[in-house]
Amino acid sequence: MVYPISMKLSKLCLWAIAGTVVLIIGTYVLAILLPFYQFEVRQFVIAEIYILFYLCAAFGCAVALEKGRLPRLMRSGIAVGAIALVGWIAENIYNDYSVEWVWYTILIWPTNWASLMMIVGLLLLPEPRAKWWMQLRRITIGLFALLAAIICYAITFHPREGLLALTGIYDSEMWLLTGGYEEIASKLGYVIGLLACGGALFVWLAAAFIKPKQDMESIIEITEYWLSCPRCGLQQQAMTGLDKCDQCSLQIRVQLA
């Protein structure tokens, strides 16, 4: 019997999320009961919130992984997210303001990768609807990828605090440029973020209200193809769309996007 770990992962993540929420409540109660420990409690709460965010991203990736959506990328999202989580917790523990931006520069890449994988996984979860819907989904994924790239670039190459400052390429002119740099980066990020969120909203809204079967006929070209059933091995001709094995009734959906 084949029993892949991905089958359990979503359940595991959900339990972990529930556990972290209980832990946050416990820490809050501690903060109320023991006000003199507030600073330590604040650090704990921040670390727990990081864990909660990571678990949400891992949960999204795990569900997509379960459904067979880009398995390698989803696994990378879970693994890279774990690295980012460890980094953020370390940054929270050391809490050194002088090297704050170094942490940001290093950690923004894995954080953005994990978040992007979660969003891509969730966007790929619904079955294909109409052609326009699939195009919209592609554009939305592209916008999210662009947004992630802008955030990473903006932080890493920040003229005053980023990689340029670290390498010693730093002068007052650069410093003067910072205002404009930040304005352009934030505006660009905001506009692309708005468009990406709007796209994601439409993708999920359409997925919720358009039944896949209604539009399937119009978008899928019905073609005959040959396949060997992965369960019973029977070699047979099948049709694109949902079909089932003549021998063992295994349901197989093959669609040309």
Binding site: L14, I17, V191, T223, P230
Partner: protein, 296 residues
């Protein structure tokens, strides 16, 4: 709209959804214009109006989806009415400069109406989410409680603002509760709908007779190149056509594998097996032992 309060015509609901989509587009465009500093006072007001209308129609769409299932219809209609009332008060706030003296009270009514309508619509949507595990059921319940808690704290804070500031330590406790319930509401609202379609919503994790990511030997429907592909979104190695492959084993609603099941009822829960999912006993040469479903 139908004369009966519990029903909602499909065509009308479609129009509401289209209106919501159009409003979202307008709001996004206006927000982009504001970001690019193409704004003046009038533009800001227009963006605020558009955002309020989007919020109002968002509540309509959520409530409409619940009403169409003939579920807690009266509460959902109440949510729609509160959204309209909230939008009306918001318009007064945005455009009515001459109502300046009453601004505080109008603001309180706006917040109260919107908080109640959103909490009601949220509860409505969550009440139609079917859960098969205790974990997901309690997650759903906790999210609904957190949304109401968050709404209540916001309403109380707006109505008794002065009292809050004089409370000292209790004020911070309430603020902690508000921030926690907001965080939990957001996390729960994202997680529960996703968990609904995942294995986290299955009471028993049932072993599969084949791996969900098994490789399949098939011909590309486009170029007829024979190759081995995994399930999910893949590409043909020859013509690079994007192919979506999904393998699904017919199962009973309780999760029992229907493979090689002879008979009309599920042996696990007794449910009637749908005709389309029935296994046809025409097969030869399949090892019955390897296909036996195991429940953990």
């Amino acid at each position: 709209m139908s004369a009966q309060p519990s029903s909602l015509k499909g065509s009308f609901f479609k129009k509401v959804i289209i209106a919501f989509v159009v409003l979202v587009c307008i709001t996004i465009l206006l927000l982009i214009a504001l970001t690019l500093e193409l704004n003046d006072d009038w533009m800001e007001k227009l963006t605020a109006v558009s955002a309020m209308l989007t919020l109002c129609f968002g509540v309509f769409v959520s409530a409409g989806a619940v009403i169409r299932r003939k579920h807690i219809a009266s509460l959902m209609w109440l949510s729609c009415v509160l959204a309209v009332v909230g939008t009306f008060f918001a318009f007064i706030l945005i455009w009515g400069d001459h109502y300046y003296d009453a601004e505080e009270t109008v603001g309180r009514f706006t917040i109260t109406s919107f908080a109640l309508s959103i909490a009601l619509a949220h509860s409505g949507i969550f009440s139609i989410v079917s859960t098969h595990t205790r974990l997901l059921f309690f997650t759903k319940l906790a999210t609904m409680v957190c949304v109401w808690l968050c709404g209540t704290v916001i309403i109380v804070m707006f109505w008794y603002e002065d009292l809050f500031w004089s409370m000292g330590g209790i004020f911070w406790t309430i603020l902690y509760i508000a921030s926690f319930s907001t965080l939990a509401s957001i996390v729960g609202t994202i997680i529960v709908p996703i968990a609904m379609v995942s294995h986290a919503n299955k009471e028993y994790i049932v072993n599969e007779s084949i791996s969900s990511r098994v490789k399949i030997l098939l011909e590309c429907p486009k170029c007829a190149k024979r190759q081995e592909l995994s399930s999910g979104n893949v590409r043909c190695s020859d013509c690079k056509a994007s192919i979506f492959i999904e393998i699904e084993e017919p199962r009973c609603e309780c999760g029992y594998l229907l493979y090689q099941l002879q008979g009309n009822n599920c042996p696990e829960c007794g449910r009637l097996v749908r005709e389309s999912e029935k296994w046809e006993p025409t097969s030869v040469g399949i090892d019955l032992e390897t296909a036996k479903p195991d429940v953990e």
